[in-house]
Each structure stands twice: as structure tokens, then as C-alpha cells.
Symmetry: C5
Subunit: 354 residues, 5 copies
């Protein structure tokens, strides 16, 4: 539940643009590092103070400033005033329950994404807000926690692999978004495996626990859809709008990410249909179990109640019951009882109840 | 129910623009107060007669006139004629079952919102209509009841906190809308807690009372959606339309409120999905309980009916029943009966019915 | 059923524009009356022949010609040719199963509405088609039946209440539409009361009759939605399209009616959700009743079947049953049987089946 | 089933525009007849060879060429090359599983419709594809089978009834479409009658056969919707697009047909809702029947099992059972048993199970 | 499951445009062949190296280069650099889990489709990605596997059947798309047959296995819809956008394919409705079976439990039971028991339980 709604109420009544971190306190320390590169050169550094990043604003080369940990609000304030960032942007960075979105502030773009991770231990999907600011010389990224999905990009920059070193900040923005979106496929695979695992379980053992598990899956998918659906829209706006910050060559790559988001949405929809199918099968299995129970009851009752009746008849104490005196009456009664039992058994077999 | 449809019929047949208060009579007295401020100065006053507010129309400073209680129709009439407000606007202010909306009357804007409050005692969500009129020098607000969510704004104006004192009436309008929308998050948290509380209850104890409670939640959310959905549209129109009454700098803040409304709608949709899930689990729990009852019945019946039959057989009074005379027959019958019972028990355990 | 589809087949094969009254024959007589008014003067008259209304076409004052009863097709024919009305319009007036719509024929507008009435005796909603033609000097209205919701308008014209006498035919058209739409709220209240009344009934007494009643309500709402949904569209077109027949001042009033239609649609949707909820609760109540029946059966069977077995054992006639001779055996068996019964009772109470 | 998908596979692999008749072979013979008329004159003829219709292409009068039976592909080929019809149009005429559509080929229009008929014997709706080609001098219609719904139009042309003789080919096209659409109302009435007939049946006798019948109805409506929905779109395009082939006066008539299609769609939607309601009632009736069965079982079991237990107790053979010797014990046991029975009966009556 | 999501994770972290084949390894060898034709001449060849196709880029005639097998990435790389294909296009060709789409790269078009095949043995639908590149002189097609649905096209080119030899590359592209889409109808027929086969099975024998089979069908249709829905959009864009690569005469043919995709979507929707109907009938059949079981149980229990009670009464050992001594008491008890049994039987028959 907690992941669906963070404590917005903390903010209630404060003037807009007030910088308060809303979200679970995830990390104590704020770490700042940057990579500054061009076709020929790469410089990588972890700095203590945001002020050390100020020169990057003017440098011709492409700079990627990465800020991890949002507890120290003063870092954001300083960064915001040096880079001329609107207070509402800073507020959105700190309120980590934003929907993915893209906002155009003319001199810079602001993008919010959800970085999803699958925790192998708790088997839960966790979400972390990543905020990206794109200017013509810098990409500034904000993360809540240590650890991200960007290491491959860092390697590509360091090694000069692919075209990343030859391109501008817009391509770097694309690369970061692409890394996050690509990671969604891994989440999808995990969910896919879970669904597959359920298909037999649901027929054999339809317990309410399974049902809660299925609904947990459903909620995972609602969560995923909530992360990806507005992202699709945001990326669409990003590549469709003509803007000096996004070059046309990068636009084609953004269209590719856009295609990936559609593919993810498609898969989520397919999974939703499958999970609905699982629910149907679950319900039907429950009915079927009940049916089976009823059949067992009916077979036992329908066979033995008539027999007990016959036995009861000859347990009566009337003085004039001529049958009682006949020597072959007792075996005959046994034969009759066996016959009745067998006929009923055959009848139930004929009805395919056994 | 009552909150879904107020007695419109009262109005039936009257000429349009007739001022009659439609809605529950919530307060006797109409109180009028205003805050008049600019960057340097704040003046706050509670006045007896609406006439005392007339000068505010021309004053250069920003004025916020707040009218609480809609019973005294004459206040509205006078206010309307002095400020040149269209009769239909006045009618809408009095009919407190309006959908949230925004209307552009060129020289002024008219906005209707629903201020929601969660009553901690009755655990019910109550709704109050807030109507706002924006002119270039005044914001006039109308409330049905004493008490509102605007105290933080009043404090900010008094103290000069944030940017509110430096901005115009459009920013004040934004601040009021923002306060109301921010309050929705608190309602959402309450509903979220209720849903969370239900999840276990529904598996353990699926009574029709729980079901009615779930449907109560569903209705709360329909109500919430009815309040927020048209509001989203209204705010969208407010910030998208270019108009001399809304400055561009304020537009950015309105876009932020707009984002909040989307976030609320998103959460409501998520909650709806969760409540649907609860209903599924409820239905399944009922089936499961029934299944359990059936199994108990079947186990008892299937074990004891055959045993009773055996006992019945040797209760028959035939004269020639050789077994009856055998000394070890009685213990043997006991052994047979125990064996039958144990075999059936093992069979049911094997079927996982026990 | 009948109200959903009138006998269109009657018309099949006839050339379009052929004037045949389709719909239930509701009245024998066709009555024609008119009100002709301007700011200073009102003239009201019931005439025998449509020809008496001809002069109103040229008169400067506003005229409202009201024709009740559609059986006498010749009246329509004459009226049509004098006022230059398109044959398809006349056909639509006679075929009383039209959807509400608005059509622009340049020199006149044609509007079809459904006037709903709640019959207090049969507790049914009845529908009557009202067709309105707006020219620059006249509004011509067609009704199927005597009796309408327009008396308040007639009074306002006679008394000169409100602004109606100062405005043109477009305002009269608005007033007529407004009267019909306002009346919908009364229907909604009736349905709301019915739904409220059902909520307890459905838990206590879930009979198929209740279910049919709920579905009756559902059908009422389908019917209502069918009447109001296209009307919303029609009114939207009416006030959005710039046209010399609709003055701008009247446009604002039409927007107000438009808001009412949205409000009605909103309420209908809310009611639909509530009725769906009722169906869920109904289904669940049925399951619950069944569960209760099963529990009673199981408790009786599970307690007495084992006891009967014990009694059966000591009803056997074996010669060597040492217990039978023990004097305290009989009371002991009673004690055992009571103990078994009590233990089972406690078990079922523990399971909350009792 | 067969009507939902004709054997497209027959065509697979052939070049597009290859003329092969796809659809059930419905008739052996291809008959060609035409009516050629203007305001003054009508000429009607059945011809053997399509070549006899060639002169009609140039004649100033309005010609309606009607071709029934699609087996003889050569007729189409000749017609196509003389009238300059695109091969894909000819292909569409022959593949009788097309969706209704309208295509604009500049010098001619091509319209496909479904002519529905209700077979009173088999109580099934059958469908026949009618293709219409509109040029400035001719309407060419193609039917699969003898017999159609156009006889009234033929009569109107022959007699000069209505305005048809005074209008052009566009009006003739309209008349043909109108005849087909009007016939849909008859189908709707038949379905409406069937639904009405089911309403009681479903409560009294909820057998799987009824369910299959309801689903048959549902399928009929899917079928109807599949025929009418694209038709609505086609007609909309036909009258909205300005084109020299459709005169403005005819446009108004087409708008009227368009209204009819919306009305049909509306009714189909209403019926769908009603049939969904029937399914709900069906399901509930099944549950109810089960409930009733359970109650009977429970009443019998709960009354007689305790009584049998009492009888069983006094059937025990203990030597020391003092009650057995008491003379009034036997009648007392009867009294006790009757009392138990009556108390339980009253209890069940109190629970409203009887 | 596997067909819904291929291992995208393989790609995670690689720079975009990296050529890695994602998808099941379906074939070892990459084979390249081409057909080069104009009105007069056809040349067909299987080549070993992609370099042999380089001259086709400049040749005036129409060339169709077909590459089967995507394992050998170097072929794509060379082809890509010679024909100036964007790296993302090459990536999409290799990632065989793309949605069908159409992309316009000015000098060439890129189209992705899904070629579906029904495997008669496994009764499963298999999917293969076909990528098409259209330049002004070439169509380059990429397939995953040997064997396709294009043989009829090859024959038409070889024989000069139809108009294909007289048209350009755009018509060839159309022909390939048309062949794939036409093949969908065969898949639909197979699914249609399966659905038809289920209709009786579901009433007679509602096992969970049937349910899983129905859900398998549902998933097939989700799969089909996922393939065809974006294709419809792609083809729509292809023929609507004016572009020098698509001639107007070919546009008409593309519109025809577009119509086919709509027809397929229509049929899929119809099938979905039918399968939903099957699920309803399934659920109802399960309930019905249960009902039947309950009736048998109830009839047996309700008849024999009272009779057993009567027998039990006269098995009591009271000393003073005057009836026991009456000679005709025993036969009378039989008569009474028979009468009770017959009355109950008649009662149950009256209730239509038998």
C-alpha cells in the first residue's frame, strides 16, 4: 500500500515551492558526482559540495551531474539558484510520489521517471524516483538511493563505446531514459514467470492465499502501468515537439524508446488478461472442488441411507413378521442390499460422478 | 445518498436566475470578512454589511472577500449588482450541488470547487461547495459553512511568507484552489487506511456487513471522482487559455495543481482496482467458507452413515442369523467398523479435506 | 419494452416524408393554442384551425404556437407548407420514437426532446416527445398529450415575471428546454428514493422478485440515459454554433442548461454504479442465505448421525455383548452421547457457525 | 457460425482483383433487369446479356440496373470494363463477407450494405450482401439472391409516387439504402419480442437450454451491430463529403437515414443491456433453485435425524433400561418426538424457509 | 507464454543500435536470394554473400531481396551500410518481438509484420517476424525461418500473372503484406472451428480442462489482436501519407488490405464475445451439475430418512407398545411407508426435480 501514496499531508498548508522531502527517508548522505566528456576526453569526479559543479554550466563539453540522496535540501536550493531552476521543479524532485512527466521550461527540460527494481529476496518490486534536468550543456540527475541501472552508460562513456561520446546532452538524456525503460523488461519477465508458475497451482489448490497472491500480482501490474503509461506520453511529447534542446538525430532514438514503452504497455495488458483468466480458473476450481465434495457426500448418503432403511425394517419388533422366521430371509436381505448398492454405484458411474 | 442529489425540485418552474438557496441549510448567519494586502501592507476586517466591501473593487491592492453562509440571499444580490456578476453565476453559487467548473465571463472568472472534509467521528466524508470569483482586483469566495482549509493561506498573507504578497489576485486564486486540492490527499490517505484495514477482515470474516462497508468505500470513491474529475478539466482550461486575468508566472503554478489532480485521479483509480480486488476476495472467501461447511458435513455423513448401516444389519431380528451366536462376532464388528472409519478418514485426509 | 421501440415497421416501404403518425395513439383531438407577446402586451388564444396562426409568422412580437395531439396529420401539412418546414422535419415530429436532436435548417432550428413524467400510480416513467421549431418570430411546439411542464413559463409570460417578456424567441426556446430538463431532476429523485429503499431489502430478503425490480430500475436508467445523452449533445451544438437565431445573451443560459444535462448524466452514472453495487450485494446475500442453510444442515447432521450410530451399536442383537448386562452401561452411554453432542456444539460455536 | 466468416481461404494466394465468388453458393442463375426513368417516362426490362445495358451509361435519364446472382463472373467482368469499375470493387462485390462501407472513386461511388431478413420458419436472421454503384446516370445494384426489400421503391417509380421520379441517381441510391435500413427495424422488433418472451421463462425455468438461447440472441445482436455500425460511418461519410454525385437536397435525406442508423444502434445497445440483465437473472434463478433444494434437504434431515436418534436410543438392548418398563413411556416418547418435530418446523417457518 | 515476451533482458545495458539477435534461435544458416524483374524479364538467384546484391540498389528494375535467418549479424551490418539503413532499423529487425509498425525514413520505408502460421500437429499458432524495407528500386525482406506464405507471389512474378510485373516496388510491398494478412483468415477459420467444437462440450462436460482450453483460445486471440491491431494502424499510415515511394494506384490496393485488417479485427472481437459466452455457459453448466447432484442427494435423503425413522420407532424395545401385537400392524406399516415414499416422489416430480 505504502508505495501507492506517500504522505502528501506533510506538505499540506505550506506555500508552494517550499522544499521539504516527501517520501520514505531512504538514505542519510547526499553524494554528488559528475562525468564531463567530449569526443576526446572524459573526466569523472565525486565532489563534496554542489558549488564544485558550477563551472560545468558554462563548459562546452557534455556534463552529467548525478545527485544521490534527497535529504539535504540545501544542495538542491543552491543548485536551483545557480542553474536557474524553477522552485516547483525542485519541489517535484523532492516529492518522490510524482507521476512520470516531462515539462518544457524553454531553457531546460525536466523529466521525471520511475526506476523500478525487483528485489530478489522480498520478491517485491520497489520504485525509485529519478528526476532529470536537461540543459544545453548538462544533464543533472537526481536519485533517492545509491545504486542504479546506469553503470553500463558510465562504462560506454569511459570506454567511448557506441556513439555516446560523439553526441550531445540530448543523447545522454535519451541513454538514461532508455536504460530505465529497458530495465522494465526484466521486471516484466519476473512477473511473467510468476504468472506461469501459478497456472497449475490455481487448478490443483485454489486456496484464498493463492487468490491474495494473484491480487498481489494484479497490484504489481497496476503499479507498473501507473509508472509506464504517463512515461509513454512524456516521451511522446519529448520527441514530437520541435525544440533546440533535442536534435533530430536523437529524436529517432527517442522514438525507439517510445516504441519500447508501447511494447511494455502491450505486455502489461496481456498479463492483465492472463491474470483475469487465472481468476476465472480459480473461481471455477473452487466450484469444482465443491462439486467433488458434494458428489462424495451424495454417493455415500444415497447408497447407505436406503440400505439402513432396509436393515431398520427388519429391526422392527412386530410379533407377526413372517419373513423373520424364514431361514433364507437373512441371506436374501443381504443379496437385496448388495444389489441395491451395486445398482446405485453403476448409476453414479453412469452419471460420471465417480 | 443525500449528498449525491440535492433537492433541485425546489427550483422547478422558477425563472432562471432566481436566487434560492438549494442545499441543506447548514448555517444561520452570513459572515463577511476580507483581507486587503499588497507587498507592504495587510488589512483584515470582518464587516457586517456587504456594502463595506464595495470600495475594494477599485482599490489597487489585492482583496480577498470571503462570504460564509448562503442563507441571506440579499447579500449575494447586492454583491452581484455592484460587481456586475451574471445572475446565473449567483444562482450557481446558491445551488450547492454544482459540478466543479470554470467559466470565463471576460471581465471575471468563476470557479466552483468541492471542499472535502473527513469527519473523524462519523468516519464520513462531507462536502462543501466553495465558489470563487476572480476579478483583476478581488477574489471573492463563498462557503456554505464556518471553518475551512484556508488558514495556512491567511497566515502566509499576514506574515508575508512565500511569494503570495508579491503576486496578484490570480496567485491568490491559485493558492485557494491548491489548498483545497492538497486537502484531498488527506481524504485519500484515510480511504487508503480503510482499504488496508479491510484486506485481512475480508478473508477471515466475509459477512454481508463487510460487503456493505466495501460498497460504502466504493461510493466514497465515486463521490471523490465526481468532485475531482471535472475539477481537473476546469483547472486545465484555466491555465491553458490565455487571458489577461491569469499571468504566465501563475500559469506554471496552476499546471502544478493540475498535476496534483491527475495524481489524485490516478490514486482513486488504483483504489477502485483494489476495492474490486477486495470484492473478488470476498466472494471467494464466501465460497470457501461454504466449501468448508460442506466438507465437515460430508466427512461426518460419509463416516457414520456406513457404520450405522452395519449396526443396523445386526439389529435385525431374523431368527436365523448365525453370526449373532458367534462369541467373537461382536468384537469383530467393532474392528470392522473402526477399520472402515479409519480408512475413510485417511481417504479424506488424502483428499486434503482435513 | 414497448417504450423502447415503436412500430417503425408501419412505415416500411413508404416514400420518405410521408406523414403517418408512428407511436401509440395517445389522444384523439388536436388542440392548437398560441401566446403572442412583447414587452408590453400578451395575447393568448385557443384556435380551431391552424390557419388562424398564419399571421403570427410575420408579426414582430414573439409567438409561441403549441400544438397538442399528432393524430390530425393535415394540421401539420398545412403548418409545414405555410412556415416552409422540410417534409423530413414533419415526419420526425410524427414519428415519436426519435432520439433527442437538434437540426439547423438555416431559416429555422428543429429540436426534439423527450418530456419525462413519473406516474405516481403505476410508479413508471412515461415519455412524451416534444418537438420545437424556432424561427425568428415564432416557437412552434408539438406535444403528443394534454398536460405538460410548461405552465410555469406560461405564468411568467402572463405576469411578466423574470426577463422572458424582454427577450426573443431564442430565450423562449431556452425556457421550454430548461423546463423539460429541470423536470428530469424530479425523476432522478424518485429513482434515488427507490434505490435507497432497496438497500436493506436486498440484504434481508434477496428474492428473484427483488432482482427483477432492480433490473427494472436499471432499465429506467438506460431509458433516462437514452433521453438525456443525445440531448446534451444537441444543446451543446445549439449554444456553440454561432447563428443569427440564437443571441449571445441567450447562449449563456443555454450553457447553463448544458451544465444541468451533464449533472443529470453524472447522477445517472452514479446511480448505475449504486445499482451494480446492489446487484453484488444481492448475489452475496443469496450465497449467504445458502451458507446459513448449509450450516444448519451440517450442525444437525454432524451431531445426530454419530449419536444415532452409538444407539445403533447397542441395538445389535449379538448374544455376547457384555456391555449390555452392565447396569451402569445405559446411563454411561447417555453420558457419552451428551458429551459427544456438547463437544460438537462447542466445535461449531468455535467455528462461528452458530 | 458460418455467417461470421466465409471461406476467405479460397482466395489465399491469388493475385488481388481476381474475380472469384466467395460466399455460399446461393443461386445458379444470374438475372439482369433495369428500370430507366425520368419525370415523364418509365421503361422496365429484364435482359439476357449485360451488353443490353451498355446504352444506359450515356442516357440522360436515371437508370437502375439490378443484377441478382453472383455466380456468373463474366457478367461482372464485362460490366466492369464498360463502366470503368476498379477491379478491387468487382472483387469486393463477389466476396460477400465485406463489412458495409462506402468508397469514393471520383467518377463513381461504391457502397456495400447488408440486407437482413428474418426467416419466420427457422427463426434465424439471414444476411445478404447488397453492393451499389452510383454514377451520374446509373445506379447498379448487386444482390446474391432473388427477392429483396425494394419492391416498394419499384412501385413508387412505376406509379410516380413521392418525389423519386423528379430526382437523380443520388436520390435513388438514398431510396435503396433507406429501404434496407428501414427493414432493420423489423428485425429489431422480432428480437425485442424474443427478449420479452424470455423474461418470465428465465425465472421459472433456468435450464442451460435457455442460456444457449440467450447467447443465441446475443450473437444475433453482435451480428446486427457488425452490420449497422460500419454502415453508420459509411452513410456519415456519404452525406458529409461534398461531391458532385450527391446533391445537397439529397444530403438532407441521407442525414435522415443516418439518424435511423443511430437509432438502431441505440436500440441494439439497449437490447444488449437487457440481455445482460437476463443473464444476471438467469444466474440468480439457478442459485435460487439450488437454495430451494438445499432447504428441502435441510428441513427433512434436520427434523427426522434427531427423531431417528430418539427411536434408536430406545432400540438399544441394555438390560437395565428402566424407561422401557414404564407403561406411559411409549406414548411419552411419541409426544416428545412430535414436539421436537413441531418445534423444528416452527423454527424453519420462522426462518422463512418454508 | 514464451511467445509473449522474448528475452529483452539480453540487450539490457548495451548501447542502442548494437546488433544482437533477440528471439528464439530458429535457424542456423542465413540464406539470401533475390528476384529482379521488370515487365519483360525475370531473374532469380540464390547468392552466398550479401555483396552480390549490391548492384540491385542502382538497377532500374524491381528487386526483391529476401534474407532468411537472422543469426549471422554481419550480413545485416553490410547490407545496412550499403543501403544506408539506420542502425535502429537493423536492431528492430533482429529483435523479433517488435510490434507491427511502419516507419518513414524519407529515402526508405520500414515495415514490421507478424507472419502467423497454424501448426496442424501441435494445434498451436506460431509467429514469425517479417521485416520489410522499401526503397525506390528494392524491397528487402527479412524472415526468421525457412518457409513462408510468399510462394504464390513468386509464381505470379515468374509467370507474369496479374499486374505485378507492370508495377513498382510499392506494389511488391503491397503484395507481400497482402499475402501475410490473407493468411490470417486461415488462422481465424481454425479458431472458429475450435470455438464451434467447444459449444456442445461445454454444456455436457464442464471440466476445468475445458476451461483451460477456452482460456488457451482466449490467449490465442489476444495474441492475434496484438499482431493485427498495430498492423491496421501501420497500413493506415502507409496509404494515407502522401509519399513519393507509394504511387496513388497502389494506395487503392493498400486501402483494400486495410479493409481486410478491419475485417479481421471485427472477427476477433466477435470471437471474443463468443468465447465470453462460452465461459458464461461453462459456469452455468457447473452450477447446473451441482444442482443435479444436490437434487439426487435430496431425493434419496428426503425419502429414506423419514422411512428409516418409522422403522426405528417400531424397533424400540418398550414393553407396552400395543401396536406390536396387532397382526396387521406390520403390513400396515409397509403400506404407510410406501405411501410416504410415493407421495414424496410425486412431490419431487411436481417440483420438476426428476
Amino acid at each position: 500500500m505504502a508505495r501507492f501514496l506517500k504522505k502528501q499531508s506533510k506538505k499540506s498548508g505550506l506555500p508552494p515551492g517550499t522544499l521539504i522531502h516527501i517520501g520514505d527517508k531512504k538514505t542519510e548522505k547526499t553524494t554528488i558526482d559528475y562525468i564531463d566528456y567530449n569526443t576526446d576526453d572524459v573526466q569523472e569526479k565525486t565532489v563534496d559540495r554542489i558549488e564544485d559543479c558550477y563551472p560545468l554550466k558554462q563548459s562546452k563539453s557534455v556534463s552529467w551531474i548525478n545527485i544521490t540522496g534527497l535529504e539535504d535540501v540545501s544542495v538542491l536550493e543552491k543548485m536551483g539558484s545557480h542553474f536557474d531552476i524553477h522552485p516547483l521543479v525542485l519541489e517535484d524532485i523532492l516529492h518522490t510520489d510524482q507521476r512520470p512527466k516531462y515539462e518544457d521550461y524553454e531553457s531546460y527540460f525536466f523529466v521525471i521517471l520511475k526506476m523500478l527494481r525487483y528485489d530478489d529476496e522480498s520478491k517485491e518490486i520497489t520504485s525509485e524516483q529519478v528526476s532529470l534536468i536537461l540543459t544545453d550543456t548538462c544533464v543533472i540527475s537526481f536519485q533517492e538511493l545509491e545504486g542504479d541501472v546506469f553503470n553500463a552508460i558510465r562504462d560506454r562513456i569511459r570506454m567511448g563505446k557506441g556513439r555516446i561520446r560523439k553526441m550531445g546532452t540530448d543523447y545522454l538524456l535519451y541513454a538514461l531514459i532508455d536504460a530505465i525503460v529497458d530495465h522494465y523488461f526484466i521486471i516484466l519477465e519476473k512477473i511473467g514467470e510468476k504468472i506461469e508458475g501459478l497456472e497449475d497451482e490455481v487448478v490443483d489448490n485454489p486456496t484464498p492465499k493463492i487468490l491474495q497472491y494473484i491480487h498481489g500480482l494484479k497490484r504489481d501490474m497496476i503499479f507498473l502501468r501507473k509508472s509506464i503509461w504517463p512515461l509513454r506520453e512524456a516521451i511522446n511529447n519529448l520527441y514530437k515537439n520541435e525544440h533546440h534542446l533535442i536534435k533530430k538525430t536523437t529524436g529517432i532514438f527517442l522514438r525507439d524508446v517510445y516504441d519500447h514503452t508501447i511494447q511494455i504497455i502491450d505486455t502489461v495488458e496481456t498479463y492483465r488478461d492472463m491474470v483475469s483468466g487465472l481468476l476465472d480458473i480459480y473461481m471455477s476450481s473452487v466450484s469444482n472442488k465443491m462439486n467433488e465434495v458434494m458428489k462424495v457426500l451424495t454417493i455415500f448418503a444415497a447408497i447407505f441411507i436406503p440400505l439402513t432403511f432396509i436393515a431398520g425394517v427388519y429391526g422392527m419388533n412386530f410379533q407377526y413378521m413372517p419373513e423373520l422366521a424364514i431361514p433364507w430371509a437373512y441371506p436374501l436381505v443381504w443379496i437385496v442390499m448388495c444389489a441395491v448398492g451395486i445398482i446405485l454405484l453403476l448409476y453414479f458411474r453412469h452419471k460420471k460422478w465417480m
